[in-house]
């Protein structure tokens, strides 16, 4: 009942004013180019990966990883265009269902792991096997669901000017996000996905105009939670210790092995890199070469020129997302793009920062490049959605006009909310 109200109200405002136009091609181009780079790198190092895995007793063909990634690539493109074509209103309408589906999948997975139906890897079950179709990560569904659900929820609150309302907005958000984080970080022990979930919610709240006081509280809460997480897990403590040692670590130290080899890979790339197919670190020295460490392999293969180009591609994509976001009138849509931005930015920044040794390792993938189907499909779907929304942007002057009103409304809203909350308390 209430949801119907949001949708109705959500639809009413911009569509009368906004003329649907061509999408922002750069979003498509950047997404496609980044995916291609990832596919190329996996093509180059896939045989080495297969060789390494085979030496551990597996039996992969040289082209196994490339073929699998190529399939993921195709599926991701389909997801991108599906998200582009399916009307955003439809997606937003069913966002909560995706969220619930994600929750149910995660709970189901946890129960299945407890009774022993699903195999655990690294002490946690994160995957549901779909037989010959491969496997799927429920946490990605949850992430996508949270993105769409929060966009609608916060969009409505924003329009009501209730973004800073503790009872109407902040506590429900805290509960939903808290539940999701509990599923991901505590049950599945996946800190990386937890961070990106947090980033999605945080960037939406930030863009949605969360009060500075709450922003500060949010920041402190995240810091405290982060510290708790670090100190409750010995391997995270080690990662942080490694990080604090900076460049003084050595390869023979097991704890710093991963990061040290990432730096060797990147550093040995030099200006132009060792060239495609000549990566040596990918032959087993660097852990997770095709997943989390793919940036280091790119650094080795393409050198400084390559890493700069890659960062430029990511920055361009992020900037286009911000620009799209900024030119949308409907708060729901703005927040949706904000969430996509947060998702993307958290992954890119934390992954690269860890690889170059300026942030502890978190086990987070480099979106669009890292090997792995589920995460790529969901992030491209999210980008496809943003691509669709880029058709609904309006001229800056129009935004100013509209947001000017909106801002004043929010300001009023803020005041009211503060007042209301005080009253509530």
């Amino acid at each position: 009942m209430e949801r119907g109200g949001w949708t109705r109200r959500g639809r009413s405002a911009p569509e009368g004013v906004v003329r649907v136009h061509k999408p922002d091609r750069l979003i498509l181009v950047m997404t496609f180019v980044l995916m291609l780079v990832g596919l190329l790198v996996i093509y180059a190092i896939g045989p080495q990966r297969a060789n390494l895995m085979n030496s551990l007793g597996y039996d992969y063909s040289d082209q196994y990883f490339f073929v699998k990634q190529a399939v993921s690539f195709a599926l991701a493109l389909i997801a991108f265009f599906a998200a582009y074509k399916i009307p955003h209103s439809f997606i937003l309408k069913h966002g909560s269902k995706v969220l619930w589906a994600g929750f149910i999948a995660c709970i189901g997975l946890a129960i299945a792991a407890k009774v022993g139906i699903v195999e655990e890897t690294l002490g946690a079950a994160r995957w549901i096997s779909l037989g010959p179709l491969g496997s799927i990560q429920p946490s990605e569904i949850l992430k996508f669901g949270l993105l769409t659900y929060l966009a609608v929820f916060l969009g409505v609150r924003m329009k009501e000017g209730a973004i800073n309302d503790l009872h109407k907005t902040l506590i429900p958000i805290a509960v939903i996000v808290g539940l999701a984080l509990f599923m991901i970080v505590v049950v599945q022990r996946d800190l990386g996905t937890g961070i990106s979930l947090t980033a999605i919610a945080a960037s939406m709240l930030f863009v949605g105009g969360l009060d500075k006081k709450y922003l500060a509280i949010l920041g402190v809460t995240m810091l405290v939670l982060g510290l708790i997480l670090i100190f409750t897990s010995p391997h995270r403590v080690e990662r942080v210790m490694t990080f604090l040692q900076g460049d003084n670590t050595s390869v023979s130290d097991a704890d710093s092995y991963h990061i040290e080899h990432a730096k060797i890979a990147i550093g040995s790339g030099g200006i132009f890199g060792v060239g495609i197919g000549d990566s040596v670190q990918a032959s087993g020295y660097l852990p997770e070469a095709i997943n989390d460490s793919i940036f280091a392999i790119i650094g080795e293969t393409f050198g400084f020129v390559g890493t700069m180009a890659l960062i430029a591609l990511f920055v361009t994509l992020l900037m286009r997302l911000l620009q799209t976001m900024d030119h949308l009138l409907d708060p729901k849509l703005r927040l949706l793009v904000a969430g996509v931005f947060g998702w993307m930015a958290a992954h890119v920044i934390l992954n690269i920062a860890a690889m170059i040794g300026i942030f502890p390792l978190t086990g987070i993938t480099l979106p669009l490049l890292s090997y792995g189907g589920t995460s790529m499909i969901f992030i491209t779907a999210a980008l496809g959605l943003a691509y669709q929304l880029s058709r609904y942007t309006v001229h800056t002057s129009q935004v100013k006009e509209a947001t000017g009103n909106e801002d004043s409304r929010s300001r009023r809203g803020v005041g009211r909310t503060r007042h209301a909350s005080r009253r509530g308390a």
Partner: protein
């Protein structure tokens, strides 16, 4: 590229944040990839590039069996195990595996070596078999490496041990051909530098791989005939034991090309267990390494010199009084009573010193071994018959011996009078044999050699037939006369011992051993040098023996050794008797 953002909106803050982070990343990457590039390349190299020596295979050594080479020395591969403690992940596992698989091969303190984290290379075990090495390899232990090491094996046991020498634990040849031709046998190690993956499997990436293949050593074929060698070793051992000599050497040469067909000494050693030998003298091949005063065998050389110079013939006579005065020295015959006017053949037959001193005098002015006579003798003995200088045979630790030059104070008349019967000069058994070859073969001096050729890819490649290093050191006629004289000398007393129908000649030697203050009469070296054949000499056999405090006679002790081998040689070489 700068996005059009609404001024003052929060997206501006996010954009700035992204840009600041991108700049931080760029600076950090600039630092890692450009400033510290060399540092990380060095680290990568240290970890990725494995350097390996490609050991050259040491050449095998063959002897002849008739016309076919047969193996005397072969290689077997054993493994040296080394570790890189810095990269070992599980030191205890390495220790356990080594103990269970190669407990008998590990070094005493290998456990400490494995744990020496600051070290990059430690050898922990020697001489593992291939099976042992494979068992360890199966465990895929990080930081454990193998080096294939070649070890010599001797299918013929002790045969020709002092000709062969041995190869020590470091792979260096010592003594014999192993020592002398070490470089040729060893070959040249190759070198391999490869980029490898994390399990040390070489990768084909980049242009950093260096591969210099090893150049294997030559497979040598000796001129030593396995059957002859075996025979003369048996004879040497039996005779030495029977006679109680400390040393007995036999050299069998082909006088027509200088090839040594057999060279045996008693005692010898077991090359497979060279490291158990406590008396280093056993490594010495006495036939080349021990100087002695050759004694009366040298009379053949004196006779050859005199005949070649035209100052005497076998039938020429001199007046023998059994003693002869040279300067302040009085020289006597060992065999007395053949006094009066006798031929030089008779002097040869009875080995009468006076006859040969007389030859020396006739090389001079008739009554003195003048400087001219001494120069002539030196020219023949040293320059033509190559006595008193290392022969250059392909065997390590050869002694040179020495002949005192007449230009020196010590090269006086008395010395040269002594030299006419082989005292006062030093030579080796091989030198006497090689010189004697030239005396009987028509006058050509061949450098003695023990090498026949090589085996390449399984095929025997003989060296070119040796050419004399010096032709006509004496005339063919002189040589013929010496063959005749030595044959007569031998026949005069021992004709019945040889197979009929052959030309067998030779000369005994009983040399006094110089002791402090003069020559000892209670200790002599017995020797015999002779040849055998039908139309031409086919072999020269040199025998010498020595025993501490023993009086050994050339005729009584050395000659029978010659005779036994000579008769056997006639059969073995299938020499047809003269028609």
């Amino acid at each position: 590229m700068k996005p059009e953002l609404v001024k003052g909106s929060r997206s501006n803050i996010l954009a700035r944040l992204v840009l600041i982070i991108a700049v931080v990343f760029a600076l950090r990457l600039f630092y890692l990839q450009i400033i510290k590039h060399d540092h990380y390349v060095a680290q990568a190299q240290q970890e990725q590039v494995k350097r390996e020596r490609l050991p050259a295979t040491r050449g095998e050594i063959y002897a002849m069996s008739g016309d076919t080479p047969v193996k005397l020395v072969m290689n077997e591969t054993v493994y040296t195990v080394f570790v890189d403690p810095a990269v070992i992940k599980d030191a205890d596992k390495v220790i356990d595996v080594m103990k269970s698989v190669a407990g008998g091969n590990v070094r005493k303190d290998f456990e400490d070596m494995v744990k020496k984290k600051e070290s990059r290379y430690q050898v922990i075990a020697y001489r593992l078999t291939r099976t042992q090495a494979d068992k360890i390899k199966e465990k895929k232990l990080t930081g454990v490496g193998f080096q294939a090491v070649s070890q010599r094996v001797y299918p013929e046991g002790r045969l020709a041990s002092q000709v062969l020498g041995f190869v020590n634990a470091e792979g260096a040849g010592n003594y014999g051909v192993e020592g002398f031709l070490n470089k040729q046998l060893a070959g040249k190690d190759g070198r391999l530098e490869t980029v490898t993956d994390v399990s040390d499997v070489p990768l084909t990436v980049g242009g950093r791989n260096i591969r210099e293949p090893a150049k294997n050593g030559d497979n040598l074929v000796l001129s030593i005939d396995r059957t002859i060698q075996s025979k003369i070793e048996d004879v040497a051992r039996e005779r030495a034991k029977k006679l109680g000599t400390d040393q007995l050497s036999i050299v069998v040469m082909n006088p027509n090309n200088g090839k040594v067909m057999g060279m045996a000494n008693y005692p010898d050693f077991n090359p497979a267990e060279y490291y158990k030998v406590t008396d280093g003298n056993l490594f010495n091949n006495a036939a080349i390494a021990k100087n002695y005063e050759p004694g009366s065998t040298i009379k053949t050389f004196t006779m050859a010199t005199a005949i070649d110079k035209g100052v005497a013939r076998a039938s020429d006579t001199f007046y023998n009084t059994d003693r002869i005065q040279v300067d302040d020295a009085k020289i006597e015959n060992a065999t007395k009573g053949k006094t009066g006017t006798i031929t030089f053949q008779t002097a040869m037959n009875w080995s009468l010193n006076t006859g040969f001193v007389t030859l020396g005098q006739r090389l001079g002015n008739g009554s003195n071994i003048t400087k001219t006579a001494r120069d002539t003798m030196y020219d023949y003995f040293h320059n033509r018959f190559h006595l008193g200088q290392a022969s250059g045979v392909e065997l390590a630790a050869e002694a040179a011996g020495g002949i005192v030059s007449p230009d020196k104070q010590e090269g006086n008349e008395v010395r040269y009078a002594n030299m006419t019967f082989g005292q006062g000069m030093d030579a080796t058994a091989l030198q006497v044999a090689a010189g004697f070859c030239a005396v009987v073969n028509g006058g050509n001096y061949y450098k003695p050699t023990v090498v026949n050729g090589v085996v390449e890819d399984g095929a025997y490649k003989a060296n070119a037939e040796p050419q004399p290093v010096q032709k006509g050191v004496i005339s063919a006629d002189t040589s013929a006369q010496l063959r005749d004289m030595t044959q007569k000398a031998r026949a005069s007393a021992f004709s019945h011992v040889d197979k009929p129908g052959y030309t067998i000649g030779g000369k005994t030697g009983t040399s006094q051993v110089p002791k402090a203050g003069g020559y000892s009469d209670s200790e002599t070296i017995a020797s015999y040098v002779g040849f055998g054949g039908a139309e031409k000499p086919e072999y020269v056999i040199m025998v010498s023996m020595y025993g501490e405090g023993k009086v050994l006679q050339g005729a009584q002790h050395a000659l029978p050794v010659f005779t036994e081998i000579s008769n056997w040689m006639l059969d073995y070489l299938k020499i047809q008797p003269k028609g």
